[in-house]
């Protein structure tokens, strides 16, 4: 190829002119076509984090619980009993827009591999989804495809999908978000790392054969969408959850033999990035012979082998002389395997094809010395145009409440989670829909962990820094509501085009806000993912820094014998119980709220003010009340405020209601629907009211009695509100009916 053609290849692969010049200069020669492919993949935003790396360093990643921070396939935290929780979140946004079923399915496959690669058996999945408005023509198709894809893959591999969130907004019409999270558990001493070592050790390829799937997936994830998407279409990968299940079992089997030196899945940029990353971590080199790679199609070139993103594949460095054990395990599970290379001393990535060396590059050139940018930032102009919220009081509080419960962002997500097997594994203690966080038993122990994912991206649009803090606070609060305490955090930072200084400003603000909140809440960030270029001709998405946390209970969970910590759900339990509010409502916290959106179709104002010290105190108080069993239910106030929280606690029961018994101020609607953070509704037997008050006071947390659970199935507040819970339930359960339109595959 001529230099002109090579350059063309590099530019279509995503390199900038400057990066191309830099490459030529560093190399001192023309690269081969395969080398161009390798470099453009490794220098893509997706693999190199070139725009985000300087800022990600601000995230706190140390703490007593941290076993493995960022830098590996997933993070790991100590959860007691000598066990570690291994977890991570990833995006699969662009592939899911192009082919929703396969895009979402392969996202699940990828995140599971990140977890079991580290020796952890996956025990739970979450998914956080953003779609365009329900009325937007493509939304039903994308929604159904994504949910089906997650179900199709997750259910088959047998890992329960126990939670997540789904939001709808015009901002995502042309660019949906599919973020997936997986957590697994292993003994701390048995964690495996993606590090190559031992010169001469063989490198094994295991799993599905390589086809021409997804070539340039990493680059695609790093570019804005354009009208030429049609042409990028052949890059879609198809997942095979059955093969993944075999791969999980085979890898976990193989890990018992300790013949493995290092292991890594082939994710974005496939064989290239897995080989290069393993070499980098071990400060060695890797030589790969592409002719040995099991191929699904004839006639593939080195370029294609190196960049294929065929799914369900792993790269394993094995101790020399123990190849036998490897083949025995993979033969048992009927998986394809081949010895494709070896560890070499020089820190180089060498690739052979037909006996020729077609790639010979310095590993650091592809990793630590890859381009890195501190991109310019500028406060976005739109912020100056945000309105001062002005909501006139709703005429009828019952109707306003019913309307909020029916809002796509609040309505029940039952139709989603009922399609996910959320119970396989016999460990799901708190199921989706039943509590503020999912609670999963840790296999083989009496302890449990809790997981939640949160982000209100409308807040982040109005104020990325405070919005990100609020996301972290809500996530930790959700853990507190089931009695758990954060052990670690993972995130997925979804933003628009970082070359736009206003977007870069959003990104930096959000990261700094997140860093602040995670530090205060003692929730170190141990893994994560960045997805940039979520932008189309129609504009950038709302900044969406998704936050997921894993929490622990500090010991055993009470399994009915009265020993260990209690947990609880969000629904009231008994008629006659008292209902109390921890924290305080500020009726002016209506900016960017769901009420403002529904009543006035406005997203303006300032986001609710978060006092992190107060947040810490509220969470500590709630945790104490839930763990001791004093609180029979706990539910935090988020979208839709106190009113929606109370309604949901009624809706989750079989016939219970609530009498609210507080003196209304001059804006009862705002008392119900303002979204002040750091508030949790708890219920308890009347004889425990004093205990709740004492615990709240001991943490310096305001507490008030709201009323009493009733047996008559109505939600009442003096003469202001009197509605049947069954009507509220009907409204809550039907908010996504408009998505029933069956628009195809």
């Amino acid at each position: 190829m001529s230099e002109v053609d090579l350059k063309e290849l590099a530019l279509t692969g995503g390199l900038s002119e400057a990066e191309w010049d830099h490459l030529l200069e560093t190399l001192g020669r023309d690269p081969t076509p395969a080398e161009v492919g390798v470099v453009s993949a490794m220098w893509s935003e997706h693999c190199s984090y070139k725009s985000s790396r300087v800022h990600l360093r601000k995230l706190p990643n140390e703490g007593a619980s941290v076993v493995q921070g960022p830098g590996e396939n997933a993070g790991a935290v100590d959860i007691g009993d000598g066990k570690a929780a291994v977890f991570k979140m990833e995006s699969h946004n662009h592939p899911s827009y192009i082919e929703p079923y396969q895009g979402a399915a392969t996202g699940i496959g990828g995140i599971l591999r990140d977890v079991f690669t580290m020796g952890a058996r996956p025990i739970g999945l979450l998914n956080s989804l953003r779609f365009g408005a329900p009325e937007f023509e493509k939304t039903p198709y994308l929604f159904q495809g994504v949910v089906d894809g997650i179900a199709g893959y997750g259910n088959c591999v047998g890992v329960p999908t126990v939670g997540g969130d789904v939001y709808f907004d015009d901002a995502y019409n042309q660019n949906i978000l599919v973020n997936v999270f997986a957590v697994g558990v292993t003994d701390i001493d048995d964690i495996f790392y993606a590090e190559a070592s031992g010169v001469g050790n063989p490198v094994f390829y295991v799993g599905a054969k390589t086809g021409r799937d997804g070539i340039h997936g990493a680059t695609m994830a790093s570019e804005e969408f354009s009208d030429e998407d049609e042409e990028k279409r052949p890059t879609v990968q198809v997942g095979d959850p059955f093969k993944e299940k075999l791969l999980i079992e085979a890898c976990l089997d193989l890990m018992e033999t300790d013949a493995i030196v290092g292991i890594q899945d082939m994710g974005a940029a496939g064989l290239t990035s897995s080989a290069v990353e393993m070499a980098e971590r071990g400060e060695v080199g890797l030589r790969i012979d592409v002719d040995k790679v099991p191929a699904r199609e004839p006639g593939m070139t080195a370029y294609e082998y190196l960049l294929s993103e065929s799914q369900e594949r792993m790269l394993v460095v094995v101790e020399e002389g123990r190849e036998q054990e490897v083949s025995r395990v993979f033969d048992k599970w009927e998986l394809e395997w081949a010895k494709v290379g070896e560890v070499i001393e020089d820190e180089r990535f060498e690739v052979q094809e037909d006996g020729d060396t077609v790639v010979d590059l310095d590993v650091p050139l592809l990793t630590s010395a890859a381009p890195m940018y501190d991109r310019p930032t500028e406060r976005p102009a739109y912020l100056d145009d945000l309105s001062t919220p002005d909501v006139s009081p709703a005429d009828d509080l019952g109707e306003a409440l019913s309307d909020l419960l029916n809002a796509p962002n609040i309505t029940s997500k039952r139709r989603v989670y009922e399609q996910y097997d959320h119970m396989v594994g016999v460990g799901t203690v708190v199921r989706p829909g039943d509590g503020d966080a999912a609670v999963l038993r840790v296999p083989g122990t009496d302890s449990a962990l809790a997981i939640a994912v949160d982000c209100n991206s409308r807040y982040c649009y109005v104020d990325p820094r405070e919005g990100a803090k609020l996301a972290v606070a809500e996530c930790a609060r959700n853990l507190a509501c089931v009695g758990a305490e954060p052990a670690g955090t993972t995130d997925c930072l979804n933003f628009g085009n970082p070359e736009n200084p206003e977007i870069m400003w959003q990104f930096v603000e959000a990261v700094e806000g997140m860093a602040d909140a995670c530090a205060t809440l003692n929730a170190p960030v141990v893994s994560g993912n960045v997805s940039l270029y979520n932008a189309t001709g129609a504009g950038n998405i709302y900044p969406t820094p998704n936050v997921a946390m894993v929490g622990h209970f500090d010991g055993a969970l009470d399994d009915g014998d009265g020993e260990g910590a209690s947990t609880c759900g969000s629904a009231f339990r008994n008629a006659g119980d008292a209902v109390l509010l921890l924290g305080e409502t500020d009726p002016s916290d209506v900016g960017a709220s769901e009420y403002l959106k529904r009543q006035a179709d406005d997203v303006g104002g300032a986001v609710p003010t978060l006092d992190l010290e107060r947040e810490v105190a509220v969470q500590a108080a709630v945790r104490e009340l839930v763990r001791s069993g004093t609180a029979r239910s706990a539910h935090d106030c988020s979208e839709g405020g106190l009113g929606v929280a109370l309604a949901e606690s009624c809706i989750g029961t079989d016939g219970l209601g609530l009498d609210i018994d507080i003196e209304p101020g001059d804006r009862p609607d705002l008392e119900l629907f303002a979204e002040s953070p750091s508030r949790v509704v708890v219920s308890c037997p009347t004889e425990d009211i004093a205990e709740v008050v004492d615990v709240a006071r001991s943490h310096d947390v305001p507490v008030m009695e709201l009323g009493a659970v009733t047996g008559d199935g109505r939600l009442r507040w003096g003469g202001l509100l009197d509605v049947a819970v069954s009507d509220l339930r009907a409204s809550f359960e039907s908010g996504l009916d408009r998505l029933d339109e069956d628009l195809g595959e």
Partner: protein
């Protein structure tokens, strides 16, 4: 007593059944790889749920070709208790150890939620200790649980009291509104004439501990033990 839990590639409730047998019921349990042929020292055979062979082609269709299924058939022939849960039920249908076939749920979606079951026949390998009319609660989790059989076959099931469980409401009422997947006659589980081979779509292993929300499923495993004890 020893439970033998068959593992096909793609089984995913195998470990769950093992957990219930060994940790909840405190019995011996052992995994039986689908290529093995030895059921000699097993008292109860469990075909667990999951997606054997990815559920490709038809649920249970590829698993029926596994060598172990010949042994399971022999074990059943000799009167030993064989219970198939979810995918295990589908495998039993495909092998012909139980009559009928399975279609996709009416909704075409996977459904995971609690349902109520009415016991319709006591004394089978999975209902030895239950009373007719007893109502149990436990989860279903499947995309293909829409049981079907032709009129003649249905008549035979009825005549020989082979309908073990039916989907019902909380009070035991069997009707359209309590049918989650479209199964003929709300059928959730059936047995062979002798009662030693039982298949059911719901998951008793997921309802065997109070921490998971219910213990109604435990009685089914206890039934299998009693049945095996004779």
């Amino acid at each position: 007593m020893k439970f033998g839990i068959v593992q096909f590639p793609g089984s995913n409730c195998d470990r769950d059944c093992y957990h219930v047998a060994s940790r909840v019921l405190d019995q011996d349990a052992e995994f039986i790889w689908h290529r093995d042929r030895d059921l000699d020292d097993v008292d109860v055979v469990v075909l667990p749920g999951g997606f054997s062979y990815g559920d490709y082609l038809r649920t249970g269709a590829i698993a029926k070709l596994s060598p172990v299924m010949q042994e399971v058939a022999d074990f059943a022939e000799s009167g030993g208790p064989v219970v198939g849960i979810c995918n295990g039920f589908q495998v039993l249908l495909e092998t012909g150890l139980l009559p009928g076939g399975m279609l996709r749920n009416e909704s075409l979606h996977f459904i995971c939620r609690d349902v109520h079951l009415r016991c319709n026949r006591s004394g089978s390998a999975f209902s030895q200790t239950l009373d007719v009319g007893e109502v149990l609660e436990m989860p279903i989790a499947h995309a293909e649980g829409n049981y079907t059989i032709d009129e003649a076959g249905l008549a035979e099931l009825r005549d020989h009291d082979q309908i073990v469980f039916q989907y019902c409401d909380a009070d035991g009422g069997v009707g359209r509104s309590s049918n989650p997947n479209g199964s003929v006659e709300n059928i959730a589980g059936i047995c062979n004439r002798r009662g030693n081979v039982v298949g059911m779509m719901p998951h008793p292993e997921r309802a065997s501990e109070s921490i998971l929300g219910g213990t109604d499923g435990r009685a089914l495993f206890e039934s299998a033990l009693e049945y095996a004890a004779g």
